[in-house]
Amino acid sequence: MILLSFMGDLSTYETFATARQKPGKSVTVIAKLDKSSPIEYNPAVNPNLTTFHAVDSLGNRTQVVYYFEKPFDMEKSDRIVLKGKMKGDVFEITDKQGILIKCPSKYKDDPKAAHNYLSEN
């Protein structure tokens, strides 16, 4: 019973392309922030709207809309995990926890960041 009930909440890892096939279905996409276009968050206009572009593992690029404040450190992320729905050409995230940011420096066990810091100073 318990397990069945959990199956109801199950979702799967997708790419933006496969998510597009399932509009309205909640999916999880592991992506990278597209740093060539800016993260737009202007609290003076709307403090609850963050938009940016992400590129999934197959290289597909999509606009992402997140109806919350821009997470701190988002610019530095190397990977982001997105949970939301594809709506037209836009990936829409309506849950606060629908975005998970992985910073290379998180808990500092990543030697690459430290190495760079050493040689830059």
């Binding site: 318990i2 397990l3 009930s5 959990f6 909440d9 199950l10 979702s11 799967t12 890892y13 909640s26 999880t28 592991i30 968050y41 609290p43 003076a44 709307n46 403090p47 609850n48 709207l49 997140y66 109806y67 919350f68 404040e69 821009k70 701190f72 450190d73 610019e75 530095k76 990977r79 995990v81 949970k83 939301g84 729905k85 995230i93 309506t94 849950d95 606060k96 926890q97 629908g98 998970l100 992985k102 910073c103 420096s105 998180k106 808990y107 500092k108 066990d109 990543d110 030697p111 960041a113 430290a114 190495h115 760079n116 810091y117 050493l118 040689s119 830059e120 100073n121």
Partner: protein
């Protein structure tokens, strides 16, 4: 190359001590095992003595290792990678300890230290169980020590040494081609401690949690001892205080983590069903299940097999959670899992080294473990206690399986992940667990072991039942608990669970008088249950009635059917402008930068509209440590007896990276001159040389001049502005002054000649600083914390009583 200025001795001593402790733990394991199997008493005694000596050496060596690491960190020997990577000179001394357990090596060391302390107590107290229990504990100690051993065997790295030098960690970094590299700026200071961990909870939460982890080993070791020596039931009484201790401390550690998350993170709560949180909750639930079956066995002889299973799994699950959180496998599902440290094989081996032998031994001996074939009576206490343990076990399974999806996916190639509403996925199951556990907690004590006269049970349980029903109905009618985000069914479940929690409080408090005649000494169990009930009620009320106070009604998008999903949680506040926020007026008054520019405090004035009560809160934004630019925010809270108001700044224009680049209009002026801007005029009143006031403190060697300006806006309002121009270290600098309400920035750009100064005037609409503010209200949150404390007090009361009973 001969490097200059390195302190190599502490590292060599430290590394030697780590190896010594490893060898000593190995010797203790073998000696104690030989003692168990010795055929003659003197033989057993002499092996046992050897085991003791070895274990004490292990304990002393580990404490010395800790001392050496502390010495290195406290003296800022940045040639050691551990000090360089986890601390810096600006660190307050209370956080030096936190920087030791920020790293994986230090946290494993902490774990081993607790094993050592607990082991010494076991040696002192457990008499005939010492040899088997200590053999198992020493083996665990061997395994934990390998995690920070840092040696290579046949090219295979075993553990990460905390005594590695920075240059050994980055062997090909060009910095280290310089023999005097320690004098380089990058080596003059460390990277520092993660800002989020610079919090007083972080000095206390990790040691308590690791004591909790370590303490689950003792019941495990007793259980293995029982299977090993075939004295199947003899250990359950001496192990009882240990189980109570473990549950108390482990629970305390988990809830301290929750308090930390609540106070210093901005997740908007104390529990997010994050995999790291789940991974420690699951073994705790299993330990609680084991405690109850153990009590059943001690009183009736039932449930011994279940007790074995739960305690064996308790410690194995602690190891499993260590693996989950440290292997990097949870990276995509957890906010705060470690990234992989390259020791995954070792972590896996550690789990399997305890899981497989424990299960093999358990199933091999399974048939020999005494059990009573007869069915338990449904009017007996043991029947319902067993059901409760089973529910705890199922609840644990329902948590650990989804938490393990990333691992399951890896092993069987599936593609599972929890949908976008992770919390609800767990809550909708656990709310029913809460209902069942609450009711069981309430009624079970009113049953007697073996059999209860029907009439007596009914008579005693009637009053608390009626009271609990009345309170619950009252809450249902007047409590305004109408959390309908997930439909009426879930709301009904919440009300049912509320009843169960209240029932648990009332019935257990009542039992102290009716069942135990007020004998508080014997009431540890009831007290713990009252605490558990309060936690349930607090969790339910604070989550179901959690309110977002900063609902943004200014945003035109927030109307129509989609307003629920389009964001509305943040409110934009302009400095100095009193803004309507539902039941409150809120004003962003000012901000101030402290700690050398690392931290910015925001002063937020709140006024309750109805009562006119005012209060001020200071949330802040802090700059991350070196090598990792970026910011994080810390909330501030106003605590009332019945609710917390929680406030945090999610964005602030004053620290955003976008700089206003519109240039200055330049005016050369004499004293008395007037210049105009779009909305008024500015007069140049006077000059102050080397000003000294709260805003400016110059060194005697600096030269500074301050222009005193009066801004007259629209011919009515006047403001003072005092920009400064100064020379320090042969460089000229300006400190501009701003008049926010006018969007004016005034600067003293340079001295033109002995008569005139050049004043820069910048007008901008973007000068008014703004913040994005989020305000949450958690009602009855204090019930969660008080409930936790009461539960732990109850567990400790029981522990003390059982330990005394065991001695006599």
């Amino acid at each position: 190359m001969n490097y200059i200025g390195e302190h190599l001795l502490p590292g060599q001593i430290g590394h030697f001590l780590v190896v010594l402790s490893f060898v000593a733990a190995l010797v203790a394991t073998i000696a104690y095992a030989r003692s168990v199997h010795a055929t003659s008493l003197p033989d057993a005694a002499s092996w046992k003595r050897l085991g003791r000596i070895a274990f004490v050496i292990d304990a002393v060596a580990l404490f010395s290792v800790f001392g050496v690491i502390f010495y290195i960190v406290a003296n800022h020997y940045f040639e050691y990678h551990y000090a360089w990577n986890h601390s810096d000179r600006s660190l307050e001394s209370k956080y030096l300890l936190s920087s030791i357990w920020e790293g994986q090596e230090g946290s494993f060391l902490l774990w081993a230290l607790w094993h050592a302390v607990l082991g010494v107590i076991v040696i002192k107290t457990s008499r005939k169980w010492e040899a088997p229990v200590m053999s198992v504990m020493s083996l665990a100690q061997v395994c934990v020590t390998t995690m920070f051993l840092g040696v290579y065997i046949f090219g295979l790295k075993i553990g990460n040494s905390p005594f590695l030098l920075t240059r050994e960690v980055f062997p090909d970094n060009p910095v280290f081609s310089n023999a005097n590299y320690l004098q380089l700026p990058a080596m003059q200071d460390g990277i520092g401690l993660n800002q989020l961990l610079q919090n007083y909870w972080m000095t206390i939460h990790p040691p308590i949690t690791f004591l909790g982890y370590a303490s689950t080993l003792v019941p495990f070791a007793f259980a293995i001892g029982g299977l090993w020596t075939k004295d199947f039931g003899g250990w359950t009484k001496p192990a009882l205080p240990w189980a109570l201790f473990s549950i108390a401390i482990f629970g305390l550690g988990i809830m301290m983590g929750a308090k930390w998350a609540y106070e210093s993170l901005s997740f908007g709560g104390y529990w997010a069903w994050d995999p790291v949180e789940n991974a420690s909750l699951v073994p705790w639930l299993i330990m609680v299940a084991g405690l109850h079956t153990q009590l059943v066995y001690n009183s009736t002889g039932h449930s011994l097999r279940a007790t074995y299973f739960f305690y064996l799994m308790g410690f194995v699950l602690v190891l499993y959670s260590t693996y989950l959180t440290r292997s990097g496998d949870l990276q995509d599902t957890s906010v705060h899992a470690f990234v992989s440290s390259g020791l995954n094989w070792q972590l896996r081996a550690f789990v399997l080294a305890f899981f497989i032998p424990a299960m093999v031994l358990f199933f091999k001996r399974y048939r020999k473990i005494p059990h009573i074939a007869s069915e338990e009576n449904t009017y007996s206490r043991e029947f319902w206690m067993f059901i409760g343990s089973l529910v705890l076990f199922l609840a644990a399974i329902a948590i650990i399986i989804p938490t393990s999806y990333p691992l399951i996916n890896k092993i069987i190639g599936t593609n599972f992940v929890i949908g976008d509403d992770v919390e609800f996925a767990y809550n909708r199951i656990q709310v029913f667990v809460a209902v069942v556990l609450g009711i069981l907690t309430a009624v079970t004590q009113y049953f007697r072991y073996k059999d209860t006269p029907r009439a007596l049970f009914g008579k005693r349980v009637l009053l608390p039942t009626v009271i609990a029903v009345l309170i619950s109905v009252a809450i249902g009618i007047w409590g305004n608990v109408n959390y309908d985000k997930y439909g009426i069914g879930f709301l009904a479940a919440i009300h049912l669970a509320l009843f169960a929690g209240i029932y648990a409080i009332v019935a257990n408090a009542g039992y102290i008088w009716t069942g135990l005649n007020g004998k508080l000494k014997a009431a540890g169990g009831s007290v713990a249950h009252v605490g558990f009930g309060m936690m349930l009620v607090g969790i339910l009320l604070s989550s179901a009635k959690k309110e977002i106070l900063s609902i943004n009604l200014n945003n035109p998008l927030n109307f129509g059917p989609e307003s629920e999903i389009k964001g509305y949680e943040n409110l934009t506040l302009y400095q100095g402008i009193r803004t309507d926020m539902g039941k409150y007026w809120v004003t962003y008054v000012s901000d101030s930068v402290v700690k050398g520019g690392k931290m910015t405090y925001f002063r937020i004035d709140m006024e309750e509209k109805q009562s006119g009560r005012q209060f001020t809160l200071y949330p802040d934004i802090i700059k991350a440590t070196k090598g990792q630019e970026g910011y994080s925010n810390n909330p501030d809270a106003k605590h009332y007896w019945n609710k917390d108001i929680f406030i945090y700044v999610n964005a602030a224009s004053s620290i955003s990276e976008q700089k206003d680049t519109s240039g200055y209009k330049k005016y050369p002026v004499k004293i008395g001159d007037t210049l105009f801007y779009s909305a008024g005029y500015i007069t140049f009143d006077s000059v102050t040389a080397n000003p000294r006031n709260e805003k400016y403190q110059f060194k005697p060697t600096d030269t500074a001049i301050q222009a005193n300006l009066t801004v007259t806006a629209k011919g009515v309002k006047t403001f003072q502005a005092k920009p400064v121009f100064y020379v320090a270290n042969n460089q000229t600098r300006q400190v501009p002054d701003t008049v926010h309400s006018e969007g004016l920035e005034l600067s003293l750009l340079r001295v033109v000649d002995n008569q005139r100064l050049e004043i820069g005037v910048k007008e901008s609409t973007r000068l008014t600083p703004y913040i994005a503010l989020k305000v949450l209200q958690f009602p009855f949150i204090y019930l969660v914390w008080i409930g936790t404390v009461i539960m732990i007090v109850g567990l400790i009361m029981s522990m003390v009583r059982r330990a005394r009973l065991g001695k006599s």
